[in-house]
Amino acid sequence: MTVLGLALRYLRGRLVTTALTALSIALGVALVLASVLLTRGVEKTFMESATEYSLVVGAKGSPTQLVLSVVFRMDTPTPNILRATWERLASDERVDVAVPVALGDAYQGFRYVATSPAYFAAMPWRQRSFAIARGRFAREDSIEQPSYEVVLGAETARRTGLQLGDRFFEGEEMAEYPLTVVGILRSTGTADDRAVFLTLPSFWGMNEVARKMQMKPLTAVLVRAKRMSDLPALHRQLNLSQETQAVFPSGVLLGIFNLLGLAEEVLALVLAIVASVVVLYLFVSMYSAMRERRREIATMRALGARRATILGLVLLESCLIALVGGGAGLVLGHGIAYGGARLLASRAGMVADPFAVGLLQPAVLACVVIVGALAGLLPALSAYRVDVEENLAPLS
C-alpha cells in the first residue's frame, strides 16, 4: 500500500462527505469556467462583427444605437439616410468598400436586412465568411423587377422552420408578392444568423407595396477605407454633414465594454466569494476529518509513520478532492457553457465556443489543486502536530 492508496481509502471511507465537498468544488469551478468561456465568446463575437468595417455611416443620433442596430441588430434602427449617401461613398476614392444596409421590420422576430452582394463577399480582411448551407444567394435584381428572394440566417431557418422554396409574406397587401426562400446560410456565430436577407430592390419593392413609399432609403452604410490615414478626414467630413454621422464601431464597442466592465467586476467578485466559500468548505471538511482521525494518526505514528508522511497524507487527500472536484467542474463548466452558448445563439445570435480548450483548463485545474493544498494545509499541520502519546491513551 502507498500513501496515495491510503489517501484514496480514507476518501472512500467518508464517501458522502468527500462527494459533497468535491461537488461544491465542481460547482464553483463550473461557474468560473462557464463565465469565462461565455464572456470570451461574447467579446469575440462583438470584436469580429464590429472591426471588419472602419466606419458605420448612418443618420444623426446615438452612435451606440447605430452600431448596435446595424451590426448587432440589438436596438431599434436609426432613422433612414439617403441612397445618395451610399452612392457618394461608393464612388469616393478613399473608400475601398461601401456596403449599403437597410433594416426593415421582422418576420417572427427575425429582422429583414436588405443589402448588396458585397455584404457577403469574401474579402482578405474579413474575419468571418458567409457560406451557403443550402440553396444559393439571392440573384441580383433591379428596382424595376425585384426578385423577392430571401436568404435566411442559420438560426432564423432553424427557428422559423422555413425551408428552401417556401414562400411567406406579412400583411395582406404583400400576398401578391411573397418572399421566396432561396438559400440558408451556414452559422456565422453572429447576429447575421438571426436575419432574413434580401436584396435592396426587393426591400424597396416591399416598401412601395406595403407602405406606398416611393423613397428608396437606407439605414446605414458600412465603410472600409483604402488607407487608415484617410479615416480621420472621412470621419470628420461625414460628421460635418447635417444628415449623417460616421462612427468607429470599435470605439463604440470600447464604450460598451467599459460599461460591461463593471458587470464583469461584479461577476468576478461573486465568483471570488463562491471560490472562498468552496475553499472554506474544503477546509472545514478536512479539518473535521482530521480531528476525527487523531487517534488513527497517532496509531500510524506509533507504527513508524513520520510526521512528514502524515502531513503529506492529509495534503494529498485535500488535493485529490480538489482534483476530482476540479475535473468534474471542468466537464460541468463546459456543459453549462454549452447551454449558455445555445441560449446566446438563439436569443442574440452570438456563438461562444463552449468546448474551447486551451491553457485555461489546465490553469484552472492547477489553481484548484493548489487552492486545495492550501485549504488542506492547516488541517495537515494540525495532523503533523498530533500528540501521539495523548491520542493513544485508551478510551474511557
Binding site: M1, T2, V3, L6, R9, Y10, R12, G13, R14, R295, E296, T299, M300, R301, A302, L303, G304, A305, R306, R307, A308, T309, V388, E389, L392, A393, P394, L395
Partner: protein
C-alpha cells in the same frame, strides 16, 4: 530471523511540566534489561507508569533523562525522524483497544505497518500480510473491515500488524483488557506462541494470569518506579 535485542534502560526518568514552572515526575525507573527472546510481563497499579514506560521504549515519547538502548542503539539520542524509522523497523506495538484503521480491511491494516519502512519489499507486502494473518487463523477474514470482525479477531489483526515487519521487539499494552476471559486466553496463547517461534523479545503490560504465568519474569512497576515510591532495584515477582 534476526537475533532479538537486549533492551537496556539506564536512569530513565520522565517528568511533565506543570503551570508555574513546576514539574510532575511520573517515572524514575531503576535500570532494567530485557534479555533477547525473553517474555517480560509488566504489572502494577493504575497510574504507576506502565504505559508511559512502554511509550518511552517504543520511542513514541522521549525521557527527560537517561538512555534506552535497543539492539545496541540509544533511541534517546536519535532525531525524531530517525526514531520513527527505527520504531517502524524494530518495534511492534499492540494496543489495548486494537487501534485498527476502520477505513482499511484486515489485510490492509497489516500492510499499513509495512508502508512506513522498507523492511519488507513492496511487492511482498500482500503475501507477507496474508501469511501472518493465516498464522493467526484469519485467512478467511482478509478483506473484512474491522467493524465486521469480533473483538478477538480485531486483536489478532492488531498482533499481525505488530509482527508485520518482523520486529525483534514487541510491546503490548494490556492486549487483552478489552476481551472476555476465554478470548483473552486464546489470543494470549496465540500471541505468545507466534512470538516464541519467531524469537521475539516481548514486553507486555498485563494483569492476566495467563500472561503472568507465561512470562519469564514479571516486573512490578510500582516496585521499579521511584516516582511512585518504588525501591531502588527491580522487584522481580518471579526471576527469569
Amino acid at each position: 530471523m534476526r537475533t532479538a535485542p537486549t533492551v537496556a534502560l539506564r536512569g530513565v526518568r520522565k517528568a511533565f511540566p506543570l503551570a508555574g514552572g513546576q514539574r510532575l515526575e511520573v517515572l524514575d525507573v531503576v535500570d532494567v534489561e530485557l534479555a533477547s527472546g525473553s517474555w517480560t510481563a509488566l504489572s502494577g497499579r493504575s497510574g504507576s507508569g506502565k504505559t508511559t514506560l512502554l511509550n518511552l521504549i517504543a520511542g513514541i515519547s522521549r525521557p527527560t533523562a537517561g538512555s534506552i538502548v535497543i539492539d545496541g542503539e540509544d533511541i534517546v539520542a536519535m532525531t525524531e525522524p530517525r526514531r520513527d524509522a527505527f520504531r517502524a523497523r524494530h518495534v511492534g506495538y499492540v494496543f489495548q483497544t486494537f487501534n485498527l484503521l476502520p477505513a482499511l480491511s484486515a489485510l490492509e491494516n497489516v500492510m499499513l505497518a509495512m508502508m512506513f519502512t522498507d523492511a519488507v519489499a513492496r511487492r511482498e507486502h500482500r503475501r507477507r500480510a496474508e501469511a501472518i494473518l493465516s498464522r493467526l487463523g484469519l485467512s478467511a477474514r482478509l478483506s473484512h473491515s474491522p467493524a465486521r470482525l469480533s473483538r478477538g479477531e480485531q486483536q489478532r489483526v492488531a498482533i499481525a500488524r505488530a509482527l508485520a515487519n518482523d520486529p525483534p521487539l514487541v510491546l503490548a499494552d494490556e492486549p487483552c483488557a478489552s476481551l472476555d476471559a476465554q478470548t483473552a486466553r486464546e489470543v494470549l496463547t496465540e500471541f505468545w506462541s507466534v512470538c516464541r517461534q519467531d524469537g521475539k523479545t516481548v514486553l507486555v503490560v498485563s494483569h492476566e494470569e495467563a500472561a503472568l504465568a507465561a512470562a519469564h519474569r514479571v516486573l512490578d512497576m510500582t516496585g521499579i518506579n521511584r516516582a511512585v515510591g518504588g525501591r531502588a532495584s527491580p522487584e522481580l515477582v518471579r526471576p527469569a
